[in-house]
Subunit: 435 residues, 2 copies
């Protein structure tokens, strides 16, 4: 018997031990359900959970043949992602009781690999900024971040081995950083978003929350659909670009400390660390006042078109915060949207030059620790820059802040170099380790 | 009284005449329904049509205040696009009776502008290559093209003023060319695809079928959400790049004739016509044997991930043709997909250089006339090249082939220059006119 409770095992360990007959899928699912039972009234990570349905899936797996590399692994699913056997309510009363006709692509791929879809995790309203009721497992007075709030909290609190999140601004990496876990946002387009409710189509990226890099690696291979081969760390120390970003002065002391400490320790460990300044044209992507401020403009403009049905038919059920975003979007000039998109396209194309001779960038993951209170899930600015640039990014829980809450660092690779990011992240994680 | 039957009016004329109190939305809808009643048993353009529901919408518009620039205009909706009050069956028995919880973004935007959602039009199975039962209105022994088969046929046959199509390869422009109407595929990302069933997420583009450029213009403004201002033709003759594409030898004589005749007449009308050869690296996008053949690789790979739910749970209800595509996708190496995507990204970035000094490209719209028979909706190659390149493209019904069936030409602009495309198209259309 392992000393580690079954609900604390990694996805990879669960799959291996079930395959070897040491444990059953039912026992793992039961351990997760017990953990949820003990902690959910405090954390509110789950939007929908039917223990019988989860156990039924697990028992069916135990009875049947080996299904794949995630046989028996419990997965949480953000509640904007369609599930055929559970409601998908989007964090909105408009979709109360909504029952999709099919599983989202990512859910079906997980089931195909043998995963147990444990339940649906709390999302901010339509994956935006209006919070759900989830609390940070490290301190329930603090936000878990958002919009993948339930996924971040549930994985951090050992309620599930891993969970899906989505990132349009910073919705995977921010809750991961705040909750002290690993969050991975692949390149735009790497994971299939079929069956995921859109927020801003040009930015929406499906991502993963887990507690180990092995698990990110394993789940990624299932989602892109290739045989799993663990990605080794590079055999030579990487070249790391220290990228403070144009928003550096907005970083709180704990984030400044995390990034600078990481850079110093990685240099000592042998990495070549070079200061990288993004081209000046990139400033416009993040300066709130700029007319090329892509993240805000895209988010508002696309939201307002995307949500035409909800806006025209159920406006009374949309929060004030989201209503304001939609109103701003409706007032956004289409020509300004196109101009910002052209600018963003140019920056995306130039990003490869930024990586000339650089393996990955090291950047702030979030402003700082999780803010106190549940009304604000924190600023997406440090995550959103890379979302707009379509670059794969990952946060590692390497540091702690003044309130002993987690503070992550962020690593970024060029678009479509997801494998490089996961490989170099291993090297970094081996050197830095958890906070 | 106009001599033109109400079902033959353009969207713009319908809206104007209803606004001026000359006609009612109910009368227009009834005229369309009468036309459908007379012709549907031959053409099979509609997947779902509830005359009472359509008339109810029209009467509600007649009773209520003026809703917007499409007040009373009947619109057909391809049956992969969600409608809250009609089934959305995707051309597949898997989705028989499927009732979405909400309208797709584009449907809600149309309703918000006052449109009558007339019904759902026949689509190839999941917007792929397995045909529905629709026939070409010009000769029912011939395919209408696909996958937006019903939309193309219904608009051409005066059953509806306009209709939505989607293009992942060539599914808007091909049926438009074959049916002798105008088909517009905007830049990738211009129209919101929320609520549209994905086929290959990196290529899926929502588009329009109509019988006039004014209508394309009007509907585009509703969908991007800006006040409608008719786009004038440029006041100077444009510079037109004659782009035969690397597939020129696959064009049938009627397509060669259409493109060359168009080029000659536009030159006589004052346009500067220059022969344009695409960079050699673009060849790989279309050469079937190339490992960088983006359209086929993206389509197969993304399909196979996207349709994991249907493949794992309803395989017996998937056609042999689509099953083969999915199988090929499952066998596609992920690294090859990424390599092809990187190549496509490079070509997309280089496309702006191709347009140096050029306003629009003139290119073949399809191999030739609509092929005989209903088993094959025709090759998407001449449309798909521009889909992969994310460039806006339009087909105009300027010519006829040896069987007196329509043959379109295609005009293409740089990505996000949709307005330029629509403006120059007016100049071209004024000079060439209908076949």
């Amino acid at each position: 018997m392992s000393a580690v409770p079954l609900n604390e095992l990694s996805a990879g360990d669960i799959a291996r031990r079930i395959k070897e007959g040491e444990i059953t899928a039912e026992a793992v699912t039961r351990a997760c359900l017990d953990r949820i039972d003990a902690r959910e009234s405090e954390l509110h990570a789950w939007a929908y959970l039917d223990p019988d349905l989860a156990l039924e899936q697990a028992r069916a797996l135990d009875r049947g043949p080996h299904r794949g590399p995630l046989h028996g692994v419990p997965i949480g699913v953000k509640d904007i992602i369609d599930t055929v056997d559970m409601p998908t309510e989007m964090g909105s009363p408009i979709y109360a009781g909504n029952r999709p006709t099919s599983d989202a692509s990512c859910v079906a791929l997980m089931r195909g690999a043998g995963a147990v879809i444990l339940g649906k995790t709390v999302t901010c309203e339509f994956a935006g900024m209006t919070p759900g009721i989830t609390r940070n497992p490290h301190n329930t007075d603090h936000t878990p971040g958002g919009s993948s709030s339930g996924s971040g909290a549930a994985v951090a609190d050992f309620m599930t081995a891993a969970a899906f999140g989505t990132q349009t601004g910073g919705s995977v990496l921010r809750p991961s950083s705040y909750c002290g876990i690993i969050g991975f946002k692949p390149s735009f387009g790497t994971f299939n978003v079929g069956g995921v409710k859109a927020a801003a189509v040009s930015l929406d990226t499906l991502g993963l929350h887990a507690r180990s890099l092995d698990d990110i690696d394993l789940l990624t291979d299932v989602l892109v659909g290739r045989p799993h081969v663990a990605k080794a760390a590079p055999d030579r120390p990487p070249v790391i670009g220290l990228c403070r970003t144009p928003m550096w002065e907005l970083a709180q002391p704990e984030t400044v400390e995390a990034v600078e400490d990481a850079a110093a320790r990685l240099a000592i460990a042998g990495a070549a660390v070079r200061e990288i300044t993004l081209p000046a044209s990139f400033d416009d992507l993040t300066v709130v006042e700029s007319k090329y401020n892509g993240r805000d403009i895209f988010n508002r403009y696309e939201r307002s078109r995307l949500m035409a049905y909800e806006w025209n038919n159920h406006r009374d059920k949309i929060s004030d915060g989201l209503s304001n975003i939609i109103r701003q979007g409706l007032e956004t000039d289409y020509a300004d949207y196109v101009a910002a998109m052209v600018r963003a396209d140019e920056c995306r194309a130039r990003l490869n030059d930024v990586f000339d001779g650089i393996d990955v960038l090291l950047a702030p993951a979030a402003d700082g620790e999780a803010p106190k209170g549940l009304d604000f899930t924190g600023s997406p600015r440090f995550q959103g820059l890379w979302t707009v640039l379509y670059a794969p990014s990952i946060t590692l829980p390497t540091h702690r802040g003044p309130n002993n809450l987690p503070v992550g660092i962020q690593l970024v690779a060029p678009r479509r170099q997801d494998d490089r990011l996961l490989s170099v992240s291993r090297w970094v994680w081996e050197k830095l380790g958890p906070a």
